[in-house]
Symmetry: C2
Subunit: 415 residues, 2 copies
């Protein structure tokens, strides 16, 4: 494919993208969450019944919010103690909170009953279980620390702890309409922020300055938080798939990679754009086109899968789609393909199911779902290019819709 | 005690506080870390020898940085997989990294040997141990998930996993000189940011706007990151010890509480100031004085303990100091004392050892160390006051020095 070459007179502009969410949007989404919670709990309770447990003890922050409404930021987790942990039983939801969080928990998890616990879960655990009549409890083994597991086992020796992983994760990958709306809103915040940043990019400005500037544009443009720290990498640094911005100045004649995302009403976006500062080198342009071609190949394979599914074929799996994009780069043969995965689901977490990668499950993709498609080519010490878009994959509608709207053109800045 | 009443003509000014760290400071601190790492590892190895283990497997982000140099933000942890986890043996340090992090790990953990691992630790674990000749390995049981523990146990059944907690935490509470310097530098960034914010505070501005403004002043004033999300709570909201800023406007005649901190070269600050918007009510002023008096009582008790220690008494313990501040509020008798702890250590983590609270260990405080002293009074539905300063407690020097320099006066804003 040949990507369009875009200069300042045809740059994407902030007004090209959806405006920030309004107060009415935020209220509507909060209501939708409250209305959806009984169904979310019903799915979990069906799993509980099937596994023969009468309780589900959860600690993962995304699950707290999804099932109970209680909301903690990642940065709050280390000091929250047991607050936010929760127990679901066939007819009740208990949310643990110490006095620092009582008022918040009452507001956010209004349908749940609070259970007072101040970092003394070992002591309070038998009381919690006895109050709820629980005898056999599923525990999020991928997130409960081993030491806590041992404490719980010792505190109530008559209770069976059943390690479970992936139950709520599996449910969360299928998105409700207002979850998709919020991811799209987060994408628009990010799209708009990058569009508004373009005129500020010039040789000499540092990666760190641009990262902070882009962050500020998101935080004042509708994002309640970042999805993750902004990546801004100039020239050869772009070869680090998870590099951090430094005091390196942007140089003319080199690429400039931004990987960033916003959070809107709990839901996240994630996008990568590799821009060109000044005149692109023919090598960088060729790398860019190779990556864009691989991404298009993945889009095409997903759309072909949706068409086949209308004729009763199973939906494609994430491993095969990764294979398509990877093969596109490998068949070109000039540069090695990315070593990471092609993409990941996104929602309350930046990285969640489904996974599109070499080690992903070879099972059909869920639907409707949202995931990233982000092939890259990394030439250590030379250059790096990644292009990342979020797409809504919807088998019922038969559509793959990009919710990242910032164009994939070659965007030339700083000249 | 009577606190001074400060209006706009005598407000603290940004120039009252130390300037942001320079590039030379950052380099000096990086060098100091590299130089200190052999001693840090030696302390850990002494613990290993005492416990009869020939390996220490760590996963906690603060320990990665402290012992190896590899640095992950809290928000990066969920997507880092096994990268950054590390194994210390009597004569080696291995840092796990997948290809996304290889270059970063080589730069940051330059003395460690990398071990390639892409979310397949179960598979790679026996190889890691065999390469290092490890037979009995201490594992950070408070941070390794139970499911991962089970995987490791199953992957190498001949290897004994020894659950350990608190080893590195205990070492980290005693601070090196340049760790204290960095905490003080982070305090100055926060002090200066609040001083520069004062003229912007007026009735009608929302908590969220002020929180973002204060964050921006820290992020552009020398902070590489925040220590945690800024808390800004107006009036009755200040009664929530861990509340989040909302769209509530600041009101005249009410308090305005800021709890915030900066991060400088990995090290954090944490401070709380409760300001008065417009004319303070006599109730709010009396609450403020009661809290300030309790804080002073804690300072005095700590200083008395340092003097007694010169005459061979043991250093005071965190539980008794909490008791002194709590008793000060309780003996006043008008309002209930804070339910949280009086204070916590701080460094690479916002909350770390030592703990000053009712459930803290009744063992002498470490030295030199840095901790917060943050009594509060919370009247639900009415008002809340907390005052939080960081102090360096140094038995060898015989000093308790406040590194939060923003005055504790009654600061009146917005009028």
């Amino acid at each position: 494919m040949t990507v369009r070459n875009v200069r300042s007179d045809t740059w994407p502009r902030p007004v090209d993208f959806a405006p920030p969410p309004t107060g009415a949007d935020l209220e509507r989404w909060a209501t939708a969450d409250r209305d959806a919670r009984p169904q979310r709990l019903a799915r979990l309770r069906a799993r509980m019944e099937e596994a023969g447990v009468d309780g589900y003890f959860g600690v993962r922050r995304e699950h707290m919010r999804y099932l109970t409404g209680f909301t903690l930021a990642e940065t709050e987790i280390p000091s929250a103690g047991n607050s936010g942990m929760f127990l679901v039983t066939p007819d009740d939801v208990r949310v643990l909170a110490d006095n620092r969080y009582t008022i918040q928990a009452r507001r956010e998890a209004s349908h749940a009953r609070l259970f007072d616990c101040y970092n003394n879960l070992g002591e309070r655990w038998p009381i919690l279980l006895a109050e709820s009549g629980v005898r056999r409890v599923a525990v999020e083994a991928g997130f409960v620390a081993h030491a806590m597991w041992q404490n719980l086992a010792a505190a109530a020796p008559g209770i069976e702890l059943v390690p479970v992983e992936g139950w709520v994760e599996a449910d969360r990958q299928v998105k409700e309409p207002t979850e998709i709306e919020r991811i799209a809103a987060a994408c628009a915040v990010a799209d708009r922020a990058l569009a508004s940043l373009l005129p500020s990019i010039r040789a000499g400005v540092t990666e760190r300055e641009l990262a902070l500037d882009l962050e500020w544009r998101m935080r004042t443009g509708g994002a309640e938080a970042l999805a993750f720290d902004v990546t801004c990498l100039a020239g050869a640094e772009a070869a680090l798939p998870h590099g951090s911005p430094g005091d390196r100045p942007v140089r003319s004649g080199a690429v400039l990679l931004f990987d960033f995302g916003a959070q809107v009403a709990g839901y996240r976006s994630d996008m990568t754009r590799t821009l060109f500062v000044g005149e692109p080198t023919s090598r960088d342009l060729a790398v860019y086109e190779t990556v864009a071609t691989a991404q298009t190949a993945a889009f095409d394979a997903l759309r072909a899968g949706l068409i086949a599914a209308r004729h009763a074929a199973p939906l494609p799996d994430g491993r095969s789609i990764d294979g398509v994009a990877r093969a596109s780069i490998e068949s070109d043969g000039r540069w090695p393909a990315y070593q990471h995965g092609l993409g990941h689901g996104i929602g309350l977490a930046t990285h969640e199911l489904p996974s599109l990668g070499r080690s992903a499950a070879a099972t059909p993709l869920p639907s409707p779902t949202v995931f990233s498609i982000e092939p890259g080519i990394y030439l250590e010490g030379e250059t790096g290019v990644r292009i990342e878009d979020l797409a809504v994959f919807d088998a019922a509608a038969g559509t793959l819709e990009l919710v990242t709207r910032f164009p994939r053109d070659v965007v030339v800045v700083g000249s």
